[in-house]
Symmetry: C2
């Protein structure tokens, strides 16, 4: 990270790009005949307005009229926050949920004022049941029919713009720094949690030194770079989605890591397999298979090929080498405003890859009693070679940790 | 925390209590005629099976047959994890999502084997669109009709058992420790993020020393105690749900904190208003009003009264003292497996309070240019006096931080 001071700092997505997203969505065939759209899911509201928020029982919705007029509907306590950050024509606040009059009734009035007559679109007829929320459907309140547009929007979100790719790349840069600290701090006898805390804290200090108050995670639950193990330590690493176990590191452990950093709403994914002490022959063998799988999967991320073909190539290798018992999951997923999103590098996903799609490429092998073997890199599909957005050593030599 | 070594350590909810929850749910009038239930939302699956997991695009569902038989349906990569922790009769794994055959088709087969004929119940006809998931409805695949049971279950979850209350109390104990560190570490010139990281790390070390490997957060995104400001520092604190801003502390700042700790899935909430340096007359005045509001709200948490009555009492005080411009939100919310859940201490919520209900009591006042004023305590409704599960000083004197 020595070049850190000389790098241009990342910035949130510009208002102009957000307006262009809305224009494209309004022009989508599925939106034909829709008077007004309403969007609820927080990553969709962020995509279409630039406003990041913590979803609670208090409904927040983004209304977009067919003519382009936009209203962000928020509880009173989010009013100033929304007015500061949302790229919309107006912010309208209701007093509180459930309140003396239900927020959906107030929103129904707003939608009528925006031109709702017959057809409502978006990602739900009412606010979802977040944190105990209950309420009526907008279709029942207004008599409008409903056109689900979530699949249209999700498909649009799959291809990233240059500005989005830049944010994921910047996320990966800070994830790499946190991972470097994690690797350097991991020692026999230390605990998972203390090493993770220290790695995150050090990386956070560096990020704040670079960005100062200009950094905004625009995510909920996390701020700044972090790296950790999620319990994938030694034999427990054979459970790929473990939760933290507070393990204490022991010589001989196979370790699987994970690192990221929310960057103005965008995520990257970096994972590495490391070995604590001189690797055994068994560890070397599984590591080599895992690396071969990742190599062939990354090379398969080419425009015009299907997502399924990447997984098929991996599974063919798995079967050819008799590794089926160690197989647990598909190759990877798209990533962006969410840590996982579609399409998936999976035998069942026929999506054709296009330049601008991002994938985590992370074929894994899991060996009971020994542990997990998985690298994950965030890869950009381009017109030519697949491009790494993550930048961290992948070879066993540089992922072997000293003991004692 | 000097008594920490002598305290009995908390444990996850026992299998027997989880079975009893399922029995009560099966006996609910809304479940009459339902052949099999399926539950998707992760806090509901945890409540009914003890299994905590990270929700992704790979569906996880808990099936409960009318006769009581239980099947947890998971992707292959969660199989061992689920078999280790879930209190169910069987775990059934599908290879992967989307996979060669869609998981919902495999689940439909399982449900038929469990006795699904005409009526499916639960919290959704299919897996929700998490992280880009797409798939068919189980009702379309099986021809069964659907009975939504989520309101029945949510209502059941509102009254906590003694074991649940004990976990929330233990969560509050560790939240208090993290908050103590936060208060002690906050100094003029330090940044929000570095102080939060250090407070969480120190409290985490203490928790691990006490619990060792027996601690399981059973939550996603967080492990261990934490305390912070979420950007509610100085004038920015007038935005009650701010996200982190990486502010640097300055003399005169009004500060609003938040602290919690996931404890085998359960949460508490502790928030305090603090002042950095000798409080001004203006800060004293707003702090005194805030404390008076919290006092009267806590005292109103009595069985037989409505949730609305607590908010009405607060709003009457607000209007009587001309504070309406500083009002932003209702008094509080239930808390348990989620950080917010219903019922709500709100003029629009007519739920009658019962012993065993938990509420955050957190009336707030927000003053542009000066900041936010809000304490939050987690309060148990009992047969007698409301009981504090949080235990931290509430007076201005002990919440005034030294300068220099």
């Amino acid at each position: 990270m020595s070049e850190q001071g000389s790098t241009t700092l990342a910035r949130p997505i510009e208002a102009e790009e957000i307006r262009a997203r809305r224009e494209r969505l309004l022009a989508h065939p599925d939106a034909a005949g829709v008077d007004v759209m309403v969007w609820w899911a927080n990553h969709r509201v962020m995509y279409l307005s630039g406003f990041a928020f913590v979803p609670t029982e208090r409904p927040i919705g983004l209304a977009i009229a067919a003519g382009g007029e936009t209203v962000l509907f928020v509880p009173r306590l989010e009013l100033e926050h929304a007015e500061t950050y949302a790229h919309v024509d107006r912010v309208v606040a209701y007093p509180e949920y459930p309140g003396r009059r239900h927020p959906m009734e107030l929103l129904a009035d707003e939608l009528r004022a925006l031109g709702l007559r017959a057809r409502l679109g978006g990602d739900g007829e009412g606010y979802p049941k977040v944190m105990g929320y209950r309420g009526p459907k907008l279709t029942d309140l207004t008599g409008a029919t409903f056109a689900p547009l979530d699949d249209a929007l999700e498909t649009m979100m799959q291809v990233k713009s240059p500005a989005e790719v830049a944010l994921v790349r910047e996320s990966a840069r800070w994830a790499g720094l946190a991972h470097r600290y994690l690797q350097d701090l991991t020692r026999v006898g230390r605990s998972e949690t203390e090493v993770e805390d220290e790695a995150a804290s050090r990386a956070n200090q560096k990020l704040l030194a670079a960005y100062g108050g200009a950094y905004r995670p625009m995510s909920w639950g996390r701020s700044g770079p972090h790296a950790g193990y999620r319990g994938q330590i030694g034999a427990h690493g054979a459970l790929p989605h473990s939760l933290t176990t507070n393990a204490v590191f022991q010589a001989g452990d196979t370790l699987v890591t994970g690192a990221s950093c929310p960057m103005f709403g965008y995520w990257s994914e970096l994972e590495r397999t490391m070995v604590l002490g001189e690797p055994s022959d068994e560890q070397r063998r599984w590591f080599a298979h895992m690396l071969a799988l990742q190599d062939l999967a990354i090379d398969a991320c080419r425009p015009g090929r299907t997502c399924a073909s990447v997984d098929e190539a991996v599974q063919a290798y798995v079967d050819a080498h008799g590794l089926r018992d160690a197989w647990r999951h598909h190759v990877g997923h798209d990533i962006g405003l969410r840590y996982h999103e579609g399409p998936f590098l999976d035998v069942g996903d026929d999506t054709v890859m296009q330049p601008g799609m991002l994938f985590t490429v992370e074929p894994g092998l899991y060996v009971p009693g020994l542990g997990g073997f998985r690298h994950s890199d965030t890869i950009l599909v381009t017109d030519g070679e697949p491009e790494f957005l993550t930048d961290y050593p992948r070879d066993l030599e540089r992922l072997t940790l000293p003991v004692g």
